[in-house]
């Protein structure tokens, strides 16, 4: 508690914001090629999204310090989400 948690939360926020800005920069520099489905962009966006959502759940929502059951539940949802999105995109 106290200062260590505050520092941890601040670094979590900095990390998430940096990832968001980096993804923006990547998207902006991907060029204006022909408008067609781009699996690399889709996979990259999905990967970045899942990482950010999991960090929010673990650090901001404090699932890190909750019983393992809770993490298993949220991770099961994330796995289901990723699986379903991959099937929807590539099937």
């Amino acid at each position: 508690m106290g200062m260590t948690t505050q520092l941890r939360l601040a670094s979590t926020w900095l990390t998430l914001s940096a990832i968001t800005l980096f993804a923006w920069w990547m998207a902006a520099h991907h060029g204006n090629g022909p408008l067609k489905p781009d699996p690399a962009v889709a996979l990259g966006a999905l990967a970045v999204t899942v990482i950010k959502v999991r960090v929010i759940i673990m650090e901001f929502m404090d699932a890190r310090q909750a019983p393992a059951r809770l993490r298993h539940l949220t991770d099961a949802w994330l796995a289901l989400f990723v699986g379903a999105m991959l099937v929807a995109y590539f099937a």
């Binding site: 508690m1 106290g2 200062m3 260590t4 948690t5 505050q6 941890r8 939360l9 601040a10 979590t12 926020w13 998430l16 914001s17 968001t20 800005l21 993804a23 923006w24 998207a27 902006a28 408008l35 067609k36 489905p37 781009d38 962009v41 889709a42 966006a45 999905l46 970045v48 999204t49 950010k52 959502v53 929010i56 759940i57 650090e59 901001f60 929502m61 404090d62 699932a63 890190r64 310090q65 909750a66 019983p67 393992a68 809770l70 539940l73 949220t74 949802w77 289901l80 989400f81 379903a84 999105m85 929807a88 995109y89």
Partner: protein, 197 residues
Amino acid sequence: MTDVAREASPGEQSRALRVPGQPDMWVLVMIEALTFSAYFVVYTVRYKMSPDVFLQSQAHLYLRFGVLNALILLASSWSIARCVDRARAGDYNAALNDAWLTIVGGVVFMLLKFHEWSVEIGNGFTFTTNEFFSFYYFLTGMHLLHVFVGFIALGVVIYQLSSPARRSQEIIETGATFWHMVDFLWVIIFALLYVMR
């Protein structure tokens, strides 16, 4: 307790493992997450069926609005996380300031969303323009509804913090959990509508 020692940083080892806030809120978060996941999968299926329409329409969104909104919600999520930690430590005045800051973030998000919608409508893109814009207004609208419910949750947090007679840590954490969900749902909607190709 070995689990705590392994995962928590030194100052945090005294806390036992427990679910933050009321477990019912986590049930709600998972139901919402599954519901929105269904929307996201349906969106992706429809996108793959007519990528041209979706991609041409997506090119008319302003990526900077989506990014700015993501940054605003991340900052407000950080703010309510600080609030929970400070309330836990008994620093209720600082916690109250954090809760108000969180609401300010939500209000700025909402105003920016209204502005973005009015710009898109001004450009001639409405709910009925095509399937992409139907999804766009539906998903961002559903999300904004959750922001409004989040204002109620944050109001309850502020009500709890503002009197020494209340200050239930469990209720404060419950409100915070809902607000973080509003944040992570936007993270996904942003990637889907603005970035995915």
